[in-house]
């Protein structure tokens, strides 16, 4: 955005949610001496767009303060509850949210807080014993409907949901949020090919193309650059946009292409926290090596919030 958006404009709300995602996650990482920082920096606008502008969700039906863990799903466990309740009721007209890269959970929880679906102190339960606010989200975690910590399974799951909804005539869409590393798994290409074959035009995917994975930078030439073309070759529509540009995201995420649709949000994993660039290429997880370093991040935090 070149001109600041006028007050009352959706962009103001959405950008402020994105900004607050960044600062709250940094605050959390500082308190916990580490965490999934780059994911928040790269995907803040993505999550803000999904939850404030793009997805048509009902009110959360889950308690603001996250419930403790009540056992794994099973026919002998009537107490199990699903984290998807934070995204509102399942209903024909509403969209559904399927969250794929489970290690982005901190970003999702933070988003839920910023949009009023989760209590602020919910994050105090993050990675705490007996809590559902797990480090790697599972389907009891706030906002998480399916279990996807073994990466790249969500797209197939979402396609199954999408085909069921199509058969039923639901008007709501199925939104999937993915990371770029996930496209390395073969299952994604199986899912893509089948989703296209079954004409799942109600399947919408937003991908955080941050060029990062655990071992460092994704190979730009052999992997990141060709990714959009690969998706198109597999029969889906795919469009690249600046993943920090709200208008560009809005246009790309609102397209109706008659096919499963992938918005490739090209992002910067140190966006808003340039200090973090020094760590490149290993940005997957931030752990402070010294008190001096931590102090630098604390100072950066102060600057961000003021």
């Amino acid at each position: 955005m070149t001109n600041p958006a006028p007050v009352g404009d959706w962009r103001v709300t959405t950008q402020s949610v994105a900004d607050r995602i960044r600062t709250r996650v940094l605050d959390h990482v500082l308190r916990n001496n580490g965490g999934y920082m780059s994911q928040a920096l790269s995907s803040a606008e993505i999550f803000a767009m999904l939850y404030t502008r793009i997805m048509n969700l009902g009110e959360s039906t889950a308690p603001l303060v996250p419930r403790p863990f009540s056992g794994v799903p099973g026919s002998d466990n009537p107490d199990f509850f699903n984290g998807g309740e934070y995204n509102g009721p399942k209903s024909p007209e509403y969209d559904r949210f399927i969250f794929s890269p489970a290690h982005y959970a901190l970003v999702l929880y933070t988003t839920l807080i910023e949009v009023g679906r989760l209590a602020e102190n919910g994050l105090e339960q993050f990675d705490a014993d007996g809590s559902t606010v797990e480090m790697i989200g599972a389907e009891h975690s706030p906002g998480v409907e399916t279990t996807t910590g073994s990466l790249s399974q969500a797209l197939s799951q979402a396609a199954g949901i999408a085909i069921a909804r199509k058969r039923r005539g639901d008007t709501g869409k199925v939104w999937v949020m993915m990371s770029d590393g996930e496209f390395q798994e073969g299952q994604i290409w199986e899912a893509m090919s089948e989703a296209a074959k079954f004409d799942l035009d109600n399947l919408k995917v937003i991908v955080d193309v941050n060029g990062q994975q655990c071992d460092g930078c994704l190979d730009a030439e052999n992997y990141v650059d060709p990714l959009t073309g690969r998706i198109q070759a597999f029969g889906a529509s795919a469009i690249e946009v600046d993943g920090h540009d709200l208008d560009a995201l809005d246009a790309a995420m609102s397209m109706e292409t008659g096919k499963p649709h992938f918005v490739m949000a090209l992002t910067n994993p140190t966006r808003g926290l340039p200090l973090f660039e020094e760590r490149a290429p290993l940005l997957h997880y931030l752990r402070f090596v010294s008190n001096e370093e931590k102090a630098l991040y604390e100072a950066a935090y102060e600057e961000m919030v003021n």
């Binding site: 794994v72 799903p73 099973g74 026919s75 389907e139 399916t146 279990t147 996807t148 910590g149 073994s150 399974q153 797209l155 197939s156 799951q157 979402a158 396609a159 199954g160 949901i161 999408a162 085909i163 069921a164 909804r165 058969r167 039923r168 073969g186 299952q187 199986e190 899912a191 090919s193 089948e194 074959k197």
Partner: protein, 335 residues
Amino acid sequence: MEIVKRPHVENFIEWAKDKPEVVVLTADLTNSSEVGKWRDTYPDRFFGMSMAEQNVMGFASGLAREGYVPYIHTFAVFIYRRPYDQLAMSIAYPNLPVKFIAFLPGITTPGGVTHQAIEDVSIMRATPNVTVVETGDATEVESVLDVAHAIDGPVYVRMLRGEVPRLFPKDEPMKLDEVRMLSDGDDLVVMTAGITTEEAMRASKPLADAGVGIRHLHVSTHKPFNDPFILESIERSRYGVITHENHTIIGGLGSAVAEVMAEAGVGKKLLRLGLRDTYAHGASRAYLMKEYGLDAAALVAGVEQLTGKATGITESDLAEARVEATHSLAKAEAL
């Protein structure tokens, strides 16, 4: 003995008639999984998926979350090997009602090592939330659907196809976690499942004639495995128990029985017959059953080993032994 041709084909069509929630997914093995006619009968409930089994699991999980009950039909190996992670994480963990109709158990195919499901029971037993059942005859092929459908969660079914003997009367359907007693005797318990049941039935009469009393229990449920009749039978046996399975002896029926025995501290011996921790190869079923000790003769040899007595039974005694559909014997104690 009646041989029923493709019992699943018509039965599944009829059974699914009033169950609109039932959908079928295949992975490029529609006719080989005996659902070609099902597809033609219920085209709008049929998903002919590509040979991409990982994705099939995910699709099925999504359909299940939306209220459908997917029956995945393909070869067993393409259910628990290629897409195991997806089966475990997308279906078993959330306890979704997806039913796996798994063809070609054990060495029932000449397709060789890549097509023979020899360790599926071990893997599915170790996977939480999965119920594991196995069909042993046409009556079980017909009645396993009710068993599977009634369970709130995923069910793995070792399924028979093609020409299937009818060993049990039509009015004695498979029941979850209940063994069938097919013959009785005091010396030994013999436990079989799937295709080894017919073998043990073939051996029962010659063994009785040779003075060896066998209590033959047919197992259709590998998990849960709580029928108290199993333990009672083993405890009262003179020489112990033989398990005879179309599967590796590590982790399947033999191990389930061992677990029950060791937990109870029964001081009887267990002899596990089956594939001795080995992959197999492609050949006819009869040949492989002989080679890997899954036939009646191997069972007789096992009986001789456990009792320490020669029976004098010859291959031709066994070949001549007729197998007829048998009502389950009343159990010693009402259960």
